[in-house]
């Protein structure tokens, strides 16, 4: 049954691809000529080129400009109209009485946001990876109505962050659905969004809820790529399910797990919309995260300070780059320990 349906999907895919395939074949002759000139390895440049071109124009170049931005001051928007101030913006971010106490800093909110973000990232990434992994493992089993279950977990990803924030605010607010249920169950309602620790937990839970389908899907694709005969071998070796997971699944999932780890980390640092709608950074400043700070400084207040916002974002980016490079470094070491097959 599932076979048949997959067959249909495959055939439909093939039908869609047929004309594309024909087009692709047209490319072949000129590309062969190119290949004759560049050699097999030289074709790497060709394969990279389109992506890198778009990437350069629309990502890299603006990024470089952004670095310049961070060295200017004033409210003007375009680089040409702005005053060069050197490292002043960075100086402002770093001017603190004591680095241990955010309150002693000129930009106290920046440091509060940094701290909040840090705690959030650690907790959220751990939670996200764990939940995504478990979900992927569960969805990877031979389930009936597989596409339904996949859709269930993926569904929230389809919602815009604003709607996500809104739904959960309705659920979590003082008179929300959750308290209604708590009340019906005989408990005392909690003001989830006004209590510091609950609000912080809520941001983590909601962001996991909203994005876990995304990462589960990546992991699911990775899981399905693990050759089945290895599981059979493990079964013959009398391996218990948990051990199969630790010793077979996890190592072989490593490349995809790395994707998930890097992406969750980056996206955790960049969390914004849903939190903005859900808690708005409150109570107090306890869920004020870096991007909200940047947004407030650079966009929300009518007197924008794009220079300061850029400086903050570049600091944030720099930290992320370092973290990611560490992750990649570890991964590369593993990769080099031997091509797998």
């Amino acid at each position: 049954m599932a076979d048949v349906r997959n067959g249909i999907a495959t055939r439909a895919g093939a039908m869609i691809l047929a004309p594309v395939g024909w087009l692709a074949n047209l490319f072949d002759a000129p590309l062969r000529m190119l290949q004759r000139r560049t050699g097999s390895n030289g074709m790497a440049v060709f394969f990279l080129a389109p992506n890198m071109l778009v990437f350069g124009i629309f990502v890299l170049f603006p990024l470089v400009i952004n670095i310049l931005y961070s060295m200017t001051g004033g409210g003007a928007l375009f680089l040409g109209d702005r005053t060069f101030v050197g490292a002043d913006q960075y100086g402002r971010l770093f001017s603190c009485g004591s680095y241990l106490d955010p309150k002693s800093c000129t930009e106290d909110l920046f440091w509060i946001a940094v701290w909040n973000t840090l705690v959030f990232v650690v907790l959220q990434v751990a939670m996200m990876v764990a939940v995504a992994l478990v979900t992927a493992l569960v969805l990877n089993r031979e389930l009936r109505a597989r596409s339904f279950w996949r859709a269930v977990f993926f569904f929230p990803v389809l919602l815009s962050p604003v709607v996500v924030g809104l739904i959960w605010r309705w659920i979590l607010q003082r008179q929300g659905l959750l308290n209604l249920m708590v009340f019906e169950a005989g408990g005392t309602p909690v003001n989830w969004l006004v209590e510091r620790s609950w609000a912080f937990t809520a941001t983590i839970m909601v962001s996991v809820w909203a994005h876990v389908g995304f990462y589960s899907l990546i992991l699911l694709a990775g899981l399905q790529a693990i050759p089945k005969d290895l599981y059979e071998a493990a079964e013959m070796d009398g391996t218990r399910p948990l051990r199969v997971f630790w010793r077979i699944t996890l190592p072989l999932l490593a490349p995809n797990l790395l994707v998930v780890l890097v992406l969750t980390l980056i996206r955790a640092v960049q969390i914004f919309d849903e939190v903005y709608v859900l808690t708005g950074g409150g109570p107090g400043t306890s869920t004020l995260f870096l991007t909200q700070y940047i947004y407030e400084v650079g966009f929300a207040s009518m007197l924008r300070n794009p220079g300061l916002a850029s400086a903050a974002s570049i600091l944030m980016g720099a930290v992320l780059v370092v973290l990611t490079l560490i992750q990649l470094g570890i991964a590369r070491r593993n990769e080099q320990r031997g091509k797998m097959r």
Binding site: A9, T10, G21, L31, R32, S40, N41, M43, F46, F47, L48, P50, N51, V54, I57, F58, L60, P62, I65, F78, V138, E142, L143, R144, A145, A151, V152, F153, P156, V157, L158, L159, S160, V163, L166, I171, Q175, L180, G213, L217, A221, G222, Q224, I226, P227, K228, P255, N256, V259, L263, Q270, T291, A309, S310, G317, T324, L328, R332, K339, R341
Partner: protein
């Protein structure tokens, strides 16, 4: 029934429930409630009137206060359940309310006015779907124009994304060339750049290229997503190099190796990226909002957001349209997720 159960609850081993089976079902049912519950509620809410939406505590289903036409009164009157002193309950229609006293009539016997303290009455409510939430936006805005724009952006951006990203990922996973790790690092490093950070410079670029108020201005900046390259590359690492070698022996050009060998074997990851790309582009909002300020080129999300004002957000329309705009993506998801099936890359080898 038992066949249904058997169908649903197929288990790992044979006869008995392994703990992994128990856990699986725990997770699935839990997921159904936690993941799907709020979403269902969203759908329900999209049928609520603005008043019902603002209501505390919220109701699960869309309710409105029941009304009845009562003889002698022009307008329909609201119905209430009134608790009498003796504890019995009857349904009355409210004529008017003065302070804490409501003047009511029995709809069956509209002659006599009954005075009721408002504490003793609760509105009688019935389920009703505020279809207006759906109908109005269709009438008020150019739904089909926006739909066309959205579809164009989504399809074109996704196709370009899949093509360029997979090409780059192929180069980065299966070739050894100088600077490969540098390029990889660069790509991953730029993953961290949130759009809002490069918004202004990017705007200048788009503006300089004359892509302002053009759908291409929405499409192009998004197609080089580092996420896609990174994800595909990691997946391609798991494809055995021997297959490429075999193709080289078969005199396949590098392009054909990419097209005929790598792409099909990356299908699961491509499906994932396609799903993501469709979802992203379809739901994209911030960037199109910046690039598109003319309604001929609005996408659905941008159109939808005209309901977000300064002081007031018309959530009932936004929710309804959210539900409508979600339908195509759900269908796309259901179609594409089928390609996330058992990877077969290993089965060509001994």
């Amino acid at each position: 029934m038992s066949r249904v159960a058997e169908f649903l609850f197929r288990r790992r081993g044979g006869a008995s429930w392994h703990w992994t089976d128990v856990f699986t079902w725990f997770w699935l049912i839990g997921g159904l409630i936690v993941m799907f519950g709020p979403a269902l509620w969203l759908v329900n809410s999209s049928f609520k009137t603005p008043a019902a939406l603002a209501e505390f505590p919220p109701t699960v289903l869309p309710y409105v206060t029941a009304e009845a036409i009562v003889e002698g009164y022009e307008e329909p009157l609201q119905l209430f359940e009134v608790r009498n002193d003796d504890g019995s309950v009857r349904v009355l229609a409210e004529v008017r309310r003065l302070g804490t006293i409501a003047q009511m009539v029995d709809p069956a016997n509209p002659g006599a006015i009954i005075r009721v303290n408002i504490r003793n009455r609760t509105p009688k409510r019935s389920i009703a779907f505020a279809l207006d939430n759906y109908v109005q936006p269709f009438l008020a805005f150019d739904f089909f124009l926006y739909l066309r724009n959205s579809v164009f952006v989504t399809v074109v951006a996704t196709l370009i994304t899949l093509l360029t990203n997979s090409m780059a990922a192929f180069a980065l996973s299966k070739y050894n060339f100088r600077g490969r790790s540098a390029v990889m690092m660069l790509i991953v490093a730029t993953l961290m750049v949130p759009l809002s950070v490069i918004l202004v410079p990017l705007y200048s670029v788009i503006s300089a290229m004359g892509l302002f108020n053009s759908l291409w201005g929405v499409i192009l900046p998004t197609v080089a997503t580092p996420t896609g390259v990174f994800m595909l590359r990691q997946y391609m690492l798991t494809i055995p190099d021997e297959l490429i070698e075999a193709a080289r022996m078969d005199k396949a050009s590098e392009w054909q190796i990419y097209w005929r060998i790598i792409l099909p074997l990356t299908a699961p990851a491509l499906a994932v990226l396609a799903i993501f790309s469709v979802v992203w582009r379809w739901n994209d909002f911030l960037w199109p909002l910046i690039v598109l300020s003319r309604k001929e080129v609005y996408t659905l999300q941008v159109g939808l957001n005209t309901y977000a004002g300064q002081l007031n957000v018309q959530w009932h329309y936004i929710l309804a349209m959210t539900v409508v705009t979600m339908i195509p993506v759900v269908l796309v998801f259901i179609f594409l997720q089928r390609f996330i099936t058992t990877g077969i890359a290993g089965s060509g080898l001994k």
